[in-house]
């Protein structure tokens, strides 16, 4: 599990294994907020906005594939469908596979890059909120974080 905390314009990153994450209660949304409290100043609201994407949806924003399509053919429209239809897919996985999480080979660089991209889009959203709320001090901090992350992304890509 990747967990990132932004506090005082500084970025703290945690990589927790599944077992540790579970022990710390970081596998569910409430637990996540709890963890933030434990780890220091919690970034406001970000997790709740993020979670909206995980609510059941019957059409994939990325490719237009529907839940009904999936039920009919058993296949998905695009890689992003795995998020859109996570609930439905998770119900089916135990009948197909020995486990529910991947333990095999994974291209580390790619995963880091994706995690970074994910954080960037979170921060961008936070930045927008901060600007809307005219909380410029906070906005400046977030902007610095974004710049720092973008540097990191370039380092991974190069």
């Amino acid at each position: 599990m990747f967990y990132t905390q932004v506090a005082d314009g500084k970025l703290k990153k945690f990589v927790l294994c599944e077992a540790c994450a579970q022990a710390k209660g970081i596998t569910n949304p409430e637990g996540l907020l709890m963890a933030e409290e434990l780890l220091g100043d919690a970034p406001q609201k970000t997790e709740t906005t993020e979670l909206a994407a995980f609510e059941p949806q019957d059409k994939c924003d990325g490719c237009g594939f529907t839940l009904e399509n999936f039920r009919k053919v058993g296949r998905l429209g695009c890689p992003d469908c795995y998020r859109t239809f996570a609930q439905e897919i998770n119900q089916r996985l135990p009948t197909m596979h020995k486990g529910l999480s991947h333990t095999g080979y994974i291209p580390e660089g790619l995963i880091k890059q994706q995690a970074l991209r994910h954080e960037l889009s979170n921060l961008t959203r936070q930045l927008e909120t901060a600007v809307l709320e005219e909380n410029y001090e906070e906005a400046a901090k977030i902007r610095d974080c974004i710049e720092e992350l973008e540097k990191g992304e370039k380092a991974i890509l190069s």
């Binding site: 296949r75 998905l76 890689p79 991947h102 995963i111 994706q114």
Partner: protein, 363 residues
């Protein structure tokens, strides 16, 4: 680039290897399913999107070091017969042959690596090795996978691993399988029990051409079903162990048959040899079943040893599309059956010459 005709003239490297090891396990295959991040899967993509994926992948695949001087084609450029030949060689899948717009196939010269573009997934990397060599096949496929990582962004998820069009391939995206010749277990009526046992272990057993195909020529494919929750090594280790066990059961069954029922075994092998050396009309199903018995005869030293290799070649070359390709034209099933019988007689002639020449003027 290698032409289609050249590809076919050369038997694949895994078809030519023969020793003790290949007496039961003919080949081992590993295929890795990969997709491009944020791009619709081939089954849902628009034609334009599929074309774009094919174009970008095909040139990258062709320039891989191991693929130089290989075979690379857009499938829509091949005629139905050529596609069917590739299916019979296990170089593309039946599904891909049927839906070929925007699909491509890149095969190395030795035919040990077959890269399929826009099959069910954007990319399927398949490696084939002779005998029970699943780990070696995986190494080969994985080396292509890693070589592509720098230039292709694959769709992965930290929790779910590689994301595939069908959730049954999720995680490792790896399907590993071996092709086994099991006449001993079939003749001794133990095959049902063995197949049931394999299923209980969470592995799949299929006939010659994969999903939904019946077993012909006593050939069976054993593969993993689960792709998520275990490492590639764990899956390969379990498969290798189970397949090794099945191969040992097969050898034991053969030895037992020879001791306990030698007349029956020799009767089956002898009848097969008789039919194959004298038949003038033979269907592909009948040919496969007799060739299976002849191969068993050679493995048991009842028939000349070189017949193992000849039978394996004939398994491939007497299939409908290969046969028509060698004839240079499309043939009706009746004409195919005649040509098949002739091809078999020619191949067997030096090892099993018929006692009486009945050809007369016919050929």
């Amino acid at each position: 680039m290698m032409r289609f005709a050249t590809l076919l003239k050369n038997p694949a490297d895994w078809m030519a290897a023969h020793d003790e090891e290949t007496s039961v396990v003919l080949t081992s295959r590993v295929r890795l399913a990969r997709n491009l991040a944020r791009v619709p899967f081939p089954g849902w993509a628009r034609k334009k999107e599929r074309e774009a994926v094919r174009e970008s992948l095909q040139s990258k695949l062709e320039s891989l070091s191991g693929m130089k001087d290989g075979f690379s084609h857009e499938l829509s450029d091949l005629d139905p017969l050529q596609k069917q030949v590739l299916v019979e060689r296990h170089l593309i899948s039946r599904e891909q042959a049927a839906r070929s717009e925007g699909s491509g196939s890149v095969v190395n010269r030795k035919q040990t690596l077959s890269l399929m573009i826009n099959e069910e997934d954007h990319l399927r990397i398949q490696a084939i090795r002779p005998s029970l060599q699943l780990r070696e096949a995986y190494k080969l496929a994985h080396s292509v996978d890693r070589n592509l990582e720098g230039s292709v962004e694959f769709a992965v998820d930290p929790q779910l691993g590689y994301l595939t069009a069908c959730p049954t391939n999720l995680g490792t995206g790896m399907r590993a399988s071996s092709m086994l010749h099991l006449p001993g277990l079939v003749l001794s009526d133990q095959i049902g029990l063995v197949l049931k046992g394999i299923n209980k272990l969470g592995l799949a057993v299929r006939g010659l051409y994969g999903e939904g195909t019946e077993s012909l020529g006593n050939l069976y494919q054993i593969s993993n079903q689960s792709t998520l929750g275990e490492t590639e090594e764990a899956i390969l280790d379990r498969l290798t162990k189970v397949i090794g066990d099945v191969a040992r059961y097969e050898i034991q069954a053969r030895q037992k048959l020879v001791i306990e029922d030698p007349v029956m075994v020799k009767d089956r092998i002898g009848r097969a040899a008789g039919t194959l050396t004298y038949a003038r009309i033979i269907t592909s199903k009948e040919a496969l079943n007799h060739l299976s018995m002849l191969r068993l005869g050679a493995d048991l030293d009842i028939m000349p040893a070189e017949l193992v290799e000849i039978c394996d070649r004939l398994f491939m070359e007497t299939q409908p599309a290969h046969l028509q390709w060698s004839a240079g034209k499309k043939l009706q099933p009746e004409a195919r059956d005649i040509l098949r019988a002739q091809m078999i007689r020619e191949h067997l002639h030096s090892s099993l010459p018929p006692a009486i020449d009945i050809s007369g003027k016919e050929n």
